[in-house]
Symmetry: C2
Amino acid sequence: MTDNIDLSCPLPGQQYPRVVLAHGGGGRLMLRLIDDCFRRAFDNPLLNRQGDGACFELNGSTAMSSDAFTVSPLFFPGGDIGSLAIHGTANDLAMCGARPRYFSASFILEEGLPMADLQTLVNSMAAAASTAGITIVTGDTKVVERGKCDGLYITTTGIGELLAGARARPPGPEQIEAGDCIIVSGPVGDHGTAIMSLRENLAFEEPLLSDAAPLFPAVRALYDADIPVHCLRDPTRGGLATLLNELASGARLGVRVAEATIPVRPAVHDACELLGLDPLYVACEGRFVAVLPSTGATRAVEVLKQCGCDQAAVIGEFNAEHPGTVVLENRIGGSRVLDLLSGEQLPRIC
Amino acid sequence: MTDNIDLSCPLPGQQYPRVVLAHGGGGRLMLRLIDDCFRRAFDNPLLNRQGDGACFELNGSTAMSSDAFTVSPLFFPGGDIGSLAIHGTANDLAMCGARPRYFSASFILEEGLPMADLQTLVNSMAAAASTAGITIVTGDTKVVERGKCDGLYITTTGIGELLAGARARPPGPEQIEAGDCIIVSGPVGDHGTAIMSLRENLAFEEPLLSDAAPLFPAVRALYDADIPVHCLRDPTRGGLATLLNELASGARLGVRVAEATIPVRPAVHDACELLGLDPLYVACEGRFVAVLPSTGATRAVEVLKQCGCDQAAVIGEFNAEHPGTVVLENRIGGSRVLDLLSGEQLPRIC
């Protein structure tokens, strides 16, 4: 954004080219923004009732999850903050073993945001939601002064229905047993590396794309195949290494993973070398870890490959040896502890 | 905040005095913030499962509502952004005729936010939720660089269960009939006037307090008394006048209200004169409008008074004369159209 932005009122009948404070003021301009931008993109009967909230029927075991999205930049290779705001929250529901159903979307807009960018991002949300069978039923819009936000922030909250298998045995670290194997659904570190390369203006022969994508289809396939899933979790902020530490701590078991079995794309590997990052700590937005009895491992990997997770792989197992500790065996037979990072590796990655 | 803030690491064992970017990085520092600040304040078994989402049983008609809170300043007479983030969303559920139950809370924190302020606001949320019978089951924390937020923004999303009366006849503008009376539950304009007076450094003999408070108890009382409620709505951004316009438009009926019957506190009236505001367009955060058959009006006002709404009053009615138009009769018998405002009256009021 340049410093001199024309926020003046357009001619009658024309659209404002940028968001102004009055778009959040509760008056005619806000109602028009909601109608022209949000309601048109998210169109559905529940949203169209225009109440203070949405009403629908729910029966049985329900999952609820919420994420605030502040990723910078707003547009990146393989996605944008709009589609990410749908996939991110939908994937958290999938990790509960739930089918994502009803979403709310709340927007904090910065004065001066180009209206065309807002419309593109809202359309991207609508497309991601539609593909995933999600209905956006309610939401909110606030506008803050220039310099009190960074374009826009989106918070989505989702409600989902637990699959029968997840109702019978809710997936979680407390279900993990010594001997359980750890499967990752695909190569790790793509999302964070794509964002960081863009920020640092790095270009590679093989383009780096975010892996942001819905995880529910693969989760459903595991349950449909009667795989006895013990735990599901997606490695977002902090990456695979942080996730494994959380699981080891939650299960009060040790984790041993073999570096050579963890899929990392060559381009991600090279970019991480240049950026001084360890791909095991870099966020994914379209991968998950499934923990299950080792007897089900081969079948689970087959099922995942059948639904597009070509590089799904068993990467290690839980043991009773060093509760709370994650040990990485490297390619030459040595081993080291994969610890939690104290601080920040990648700010504003999601 | 001053420009020179010490964001350095404190001595081992000590708390960081301010939020740093690493508090949102997904590592050890973020997990400690979640444990020490959020989980301690919101403590409950559903939250404590620490999954990607929360799971619970829901049966039947469900309402869902979401609001982003960006109010400035964060602390104001009669409340703060923390309690407001609970009351605001809970009240939207109450306006659906629903009992607020499960909430998510997502935080966007600005680097440099004093940790003591964050803790105070989180404690305030916890207290407001506890009083209202609300369980905060899931959430998220992001940290953005200084100058990309204004202290903190909070988005809450709530799920509620519809009361039997609301299930039988869901309250909404489409239920409104010509002849229905309009009741307001108390004096209007308190919240917005309190915020604006604070921003403008105005002091009055009678202190101006926000009216932010839970509306569900009064709504339940109306349904418990078998009052045939047709519509419920709370006048937040845009105030009573904007709300009446939305109802007139949604019901395709006209509205006639008598200025002399609309309760406005003398201090609010005086402050609005000084600030150049019309109290009818100023936000409330603890009042609502109920629309119901005129035969139930007296009883409804009695019921509201019994549950603390001392100044509840019938202020007008719907008619078939001028669909979509709100007419205000003034104190000397004249009348004027109360229109929607085009633009912004009060930025960042909630």
